[in-house]
């Protein structure tokens, strides 16, 4: 199979022309997203163009140290974005969440590159940067959901937590049901998505590979292993985030500290 044909400038513009429909609708029924939509689409385009240049050089140099540093930088951005999108305090959570991601996603990435994809050099940009980006990008949302759910439900269901403590629970015993709930909140939507994959949607990685000329048999195998890797990365990241943060989130009386949330 041949690789996907180039999309020329005029054709790219035609795709932007599609935006006239949502923009027009926004004006007609006053959705109030006109400006925001333009900014979002502009940012996406700019960031991806920049990324194409970065990738070009990362591929050209293909230096293992540079590739690993790039992954760490991506983890940093992922945590930053996770923090911005939750109500949790930066100071208290950034480092523990970063470590959780670093260990969780990092470990899975090494496993993926070293064992599943049997390539000569597992630190090559093709694997480190591209697969790393996919793994991080796709596990981000579920991880935010998991951590936020944990702390927000302890805050909201404070009575339940205090009730369990008064029933003789140690702090960890009282936190266990909240941990269970937050794991479920993070993993269940993902599992539902996994169950319909291929029927309802053709996932991006697979589509990309097929367009790039890969045989569908190869493309689905890559899709299967990446989904399994992402799912495991989310599980490990949420579990470790909760573990690392909960050490410091409660006082010696077992009470949730007040300064964990941004207001």
């Amino acid at each position: 199979m041949e690789a996907a044909p180039e999309i020329g400038l005029w054709r790219l513009m035609a795709a932007f022309g599609l935006l006239l429909i949502p923009l027009g609708l926004s004006l007609a029924v006053r959705l109030g997203i006109f400006r925001q939509l333009l900014v979002s689409a502009g940012r996406m385009t700019g960031q991806l163009f920049l990324m194409s240049i970065v990738l070009l050089y990362l591929f050209r140099w293909d230096n293992p140290w540079l590739n690993v540093s790039w992954v760490i930088l991506m983890i940093f951005f992922a945590c930053f974005s996770a923090m911005v999108n939750s109500q949790l305090s930066f100071g208290r959570f950034f480092f523990p969440v970063f470590m959780a991601y670093f260990i969780g996603a990092g470990m899975i990435l090494l496993f993926f590159n070293g064992i599943i994809v049997n390539y000569d050099n597992m630190f090559t940009a093709r694997l480190m940067v591209v697969v790393g980006g996919m793994l991080l990008g796709n596990s981000l949302n579920s991880t935010i959901i998991g951590i936020s759910h944990f702390y927000e439900s302890i805050k909201k269901d404070n009575k339940r937590y205090l009730y369990l403590l008064s029933l003789g629970a140690s702090q960890n015993e009282a936190l266990l049901p909240f941990f269970r709930d937050s794991m479920l909140a993070a993993l269940k939507p993902f599992m539902a998505n996994m169950a319909t994959m291929g029927l309802v949607s053709l996932p991006g990685m697979m589509t990309g590979q097929i367009l790039g000329g890969a045989d569908p048999q190869t493309a689905i195998r890559y899709q299967i292993v990446i989904v399994l890797a992402i799912f495991t990365a989310v599980t490990v990241s949420v579990a470790l985030s909760v573990y690392f943060t909960s050490r410091r989130a409660f006082n010696e009386y077992g009470i949730l500290k007040q300064d964990l949330f941004r207001n």
């Binding site: 003789g168 709930d181 009470i255």
Partner: protein, 213 residues
């Protein structure tokens, strides 16, 4: 010996002086109703006994021991705290109860299903409640299950925070008469319900204590 004793306890909360040198004590088998308009700190007072809220000044003694960091986890074992409209967990009732009995600190107490069934009957819940899921129970059923779990643990002091407020009259009467019947237990109740005030309990009126500034 006093089961609960407050000595000159003061607490500020968001600029307001909630308690100012509050002192009282309650012997074994004592019954106390905490009265006061909302915002006067009824719930806070109960939470202070459990070491969930710490006083700015003064001492709190539970069963003769001053509440502090070294003993707070032990002292919580003497008490049971039930609040109104509380989400207590998920899954089947009996699984939940077994998990509570599996806590390290509760391993000395053995779980007896007959006792659970007995209490369900006392509180007019059917036997098959033990197989129902907590999330499927109505508010009134859940409230009674929460109470039953504390009774299974057979604690000495019961802290009941508006437990009857959301229940209908027959259920209120049932719960009040059950607890009044427990002569050995020390009860501390925060409630607006008239029915508790008709009992021969001593009263602590918080409207007269702390002064809002």
């Amino acid at each position: 010996m006093n089961m609960v004793e407050f000595q000159d306890v003061s607490l500020k909360f968001g600029g307001n002086r909630l308690f100012d040198s509050l002192s009282f004590n309650l012997p074994r088998g004592g019954r106390l109703i905490i009265q006061g308009a909302s915002g006067t700190g009824k719930t806070t007072l109960l939470r202070m006994m459990l070491g969930f809220v710490l006083p700015d000044k003064g001492r709190i003694l539970i069963v003769g021991q001053e509440l502090n960091l070294d003993n707070v986890w032990e002292i919580r074992q003497k008490m049971a705290y039930v609040s109104q409209e509380m989400q207590i967990g998920r899954g089947r009732v009996e699984t939940f109860v077994r998990e509570i009995f599996n806590y390290k600190k509760n391993r000395g107490i053995s779980y007896r299903r007959e006792r659970l069934l007995e209490l369900l009957e006392d509180f007019q819940l059917s036997e098959d409640t033990i197989h129902k899921k907590l999330e499927d129970l109505s508010g009134g059923e859940l409230q009674r299950v929460a109470i039953i779990v504390t009774l299974l643990l057979d604690r000495e002091i019961y802290l009941l925070d508006e437990v009857t407020s959301a229940l209908d009259q027959p259920l209120k009467e049932l719960i009040v008469s059950y607890f009044t019947g427990l002569r050995e237990k020390t009860l501390i109740i925060s409630s607006h319900d008239k029915i508790w005030h008709q009992q021969d309990f001593s009263t602590l009126n918080l409207d007269k204590h702390g002064s809002s500034t």
